[in-house]
């Protein structure tokens, strides 16, 4: 069984994916995760999750290129350029 391990570096921070461990059951997975990702004081907490419990989503439909939905829809650089032109500081 593969278990995915997430670790929290400091209290209050978001957990980030650290890696995975192979183990025959949950108990072994926790012991192995502790040794690999926690024993040097590099983590304040770990989440140990069976890989099957993680659902991946990687399809994001955007058929009509509605770029106003995206953060890159309004390039600030161009806007700034135009504003500077108007102000005569370009």
């Amino acid at each position: 069984m593969i278990y995915e391990v997430f670790r929290q570096e400091r209290k209050g921070q978001a957990f980030a994916h650290a890696g995975s461990v192979e183990a025959p059951n949950e108990e072994f997975a926790e012991a192995y995760a502790r040794e690999q990702y926690g024993r040097r004081g590099e983590s304040t907490a770990l989440w140990v999750v069976p890989r099957e419990a993680v659902h991946e989503i990687d399809d994001f439909a955007d058929e009509l290129q509605k770029n106003y939905h995206r953060v890159d829809g309004y390039p600030l650089k161009e806007k700034l350029g135009r504003a500077r032109e108007r102000a005569g500081t370009a």
Partner: protein
């Protein structure tokens, strides 16, 4: 607690730590390699702490106690001396026997009148808790394996033998002290 008793404890941890570290790089599973190597490192760390206490009583140093005695002066149990690589079942059998016996010893030391010994035992016990968990989960996994139960029966009587050592201890001692003996009078 006498210096001799401290030496029994320290010698057990040093020799077992050394033997367990013989699995580094060749344990049955990569994750187990990391875990078992970490346990071995912890044991050697515990040995150092106990040697330091004994050294103060005996007016010497931890390194001298660990490496400058003759093999027949060590006070370790016969159980920890054996070279068990590549027999993983026997290694886990020893690990479980040792951790079970060590748990009792550490529990008693935590009640010591000497605050330094009680404090160190409490600190070490917090690390040993993970060793015991590790030994227990392997025990549960292997307990119905005939090779494992045979190893338990074979190794159990060695636990309390400290006056006679195996030839394997002398071999290990050669390996363990070769660097230190290579330069006479050097301090490392």
């Amino acid at each position: 607690m006498s210096a001799q008793e401290l030496l029994e404890l320290a010698d057990d941890e040093l020799i077992l730590g050394w033997r367990n570290s013989e699995w580094t790089g060749i344990a049955p599973l990569l994750e187990e390699d990391v875990a078992f190597s970490s346990i071995a490192q912890n044991e050697i760390g515990h040995a150092r702490a106990w040697y330091e206490l004994a050294a103060r009583e005996l007016g010497t140093t931890a390194d001298e106690l660990a490496f400058d005695r003759q093999p027949d002066e060590y006070r370790c149990s016969r159980l920890v001396e054996l070279r068990l690589v590549p027999d993983w079942a026997a290694t886990i059998a020893r690990h479980h026997l040792y951790e079970t016996a060590d748990a009792e010893r550490i529990a008693a030391l935590k009640q010591s009148d000497d605050p330094e010994i009680a404090g160190l035992a409490a600190k070490i016990d917090r690390e040993e808790a993970y060793h015991r968990m590790h030994a227990q989960m392997w025990f549960e996994r292997l307990q119905d394996e005939p090779r494992f139960t045979a190893a338990l029966d074979e190794l159990r009587p060695l636990l309390n033998v400290r006056d006679e050592h195996t030839p394997e201890l002398a071999e290990l001692w050669q390996e363990m002290t070769i660097v230190r003996r290579s330069v006479a009078g050097a301090t490392w």
